[in-house]
């Protein structure tokens, strides 16, 4: 852990509100994004992200500094999203259309309406395929392909070995190919 991060953690432990603000400002978009991708459709990602930050601040005394603060935050965020996902699986609800993604997908300028429609359909398909990808493959692939984390950071965030990350990413890619072909023939 870097010295500036050590100082930040010490301020968090002391209950310094400015430190809370600093951490939330730095990681809110990343945590919100990863939670919405792991929890999937129907999740109130903002509520879950807030919950994840509260859990992190409440447990900051147990942060041992062996990993970087952001991988520790990712771990809490992913566990929060997984808990929500498991809870919803026990009590299924009907997801609202568009909750897990923006209502209007951005399309590159200069793209014709037909191409834009295809791109939208592809994005919707990849979201559906990702939602069907079972855990722990989904969170591993999200961290690699969407968040761009290194294998080492993924291993820390998921609390698994590098070998497990390597195997999960390979298997996740193979599984997602099958699911995507079903969603987008």
């Amino acid at each position: 852990m870097r010295d500036d991060e050590k100082a930040l953690v010490a301020r968090l432990r002391a209950g310094d509100e400015a430190a809370y603000r600093e951490v939330v400002d730095a990681y809110r978009d990343r945590l919100l994004t990863v939670i919405s991708r792991v929890a999937g459709a129907g999740a109130d990602a903002e509520d879950l992200a807030q919950d994840a930050f509260l859990k992190a601040f409440g447990a900051i005394g147990r942060f041992d500094g062996r990993s970087a603060l952001f991988t520790w935050l990712y771990r809490i965020a992913i566990n929060t999203a997984r808990d929500w996902h498991d809870h919803r699986r026990r009590r299924p609800t009907v997801p609202l259309e568009g909750v897990d993604g923006p209502l209007v997908d951005p399309v590159a300028p200069g793209v014709g309406p037909e191409q834009a429609a295809v791109a939208r359909e592809e994005r919707a398909a990849v979201r559906r395929a990702l939602a069907r990808l079972p855990e722990p493959f989904r969170s591993t692939l999200v961290l690699r392909e969407m968040e761009g984390l290194s294998y080492e950071d993924i291993a820390e965030a998921l609390d698994v070995s590098i070998g497990t990350v390597e195997s999960r990413i390979f298997r996740a890619r193979c599984k997602l190919r099958v699911l995507l072909e079903e969603e987008l023939p």
């Binding site: 919100l32 930050f53 509260l54 409440g58 969407m146 390979f170």
Partner: protein
């Protein structure tokens, strides 16, 4: 050799090559010789090539997914929630632990309350008589060696009827 038998080692070879190609795709360190064999297979085997193309496509789609942006007031909401609940570590405890903690607190409070109250229990009358008999020997309720002193007093008393009892006096000790 049947076509299925011929395909079996081929499938295993493909799977092994794809596992290596997955690592190579992310720049992971792989044995040079094994990596060269995997690349060779990718160039010659349409199934391996198709898998690699599919990975490229899905990676592009996943990477193209727009990130979520938190609303402006999100940070303030989190800080306020942190300030309001102030429960710290309690928030993160699982339900079973919270229940156990609540039960322990309740037990401690009940014990404290019970001990702080003036006692309403009374001893059995026989016990109370015995207590008075013992207290008779005491000069003060908490005096040092008071029972011994009481016995010595009894020895000097002709009615004590303790002829064989030799009680050391203070100077003898």
């Amino acid at each position: 050799m049947s076509a299925a038998e011929h395909d079996m080692p081929r499938d295993a070879e493909r799977a092994e090559a794809l596992a290596l190609l997955s690592l190579l795709r992310d720049g992971r360190p792989v044995d040079e010789l094994a990596a060269a064999r995997a690349r060779e297979l990718a160039a010659s085997d349409p199934e391996v090539a198709a898998m690699l193309a599919a990975w490229e496509r899905q990676a592009a789609l996943l990477a193209g997914e727009p990130a979520r942006r938190a609303p402006e007031d999100f940070t303030e909401r989190v800080v306020q929630a942190t300030r309001q609940d102030g429960r710290g570590e309690l928030l993160t405890l699982p339900v079973a632990r919270r229940l156990a903690l609540a039960a322990s607190l309740l037990l401690a409070l009940t014990l404290g309350w019970s001990l702080a109250r003036p006692g309403t229990l009374r001893a059995d009358p026989d016990l109370q008589r015995h207590r008075h008999a013992v207290d008779h020997f005491r000069a003060t309720p908490f005096g040092h060696d008071d029972i011994l002193r009481g016995l010595r007093g009894r020895v000097r008393d002709p009615e004590a009827n303790l002829p064989h009892l030799v009680v050391p006096t203070g100077s003898q000790r």
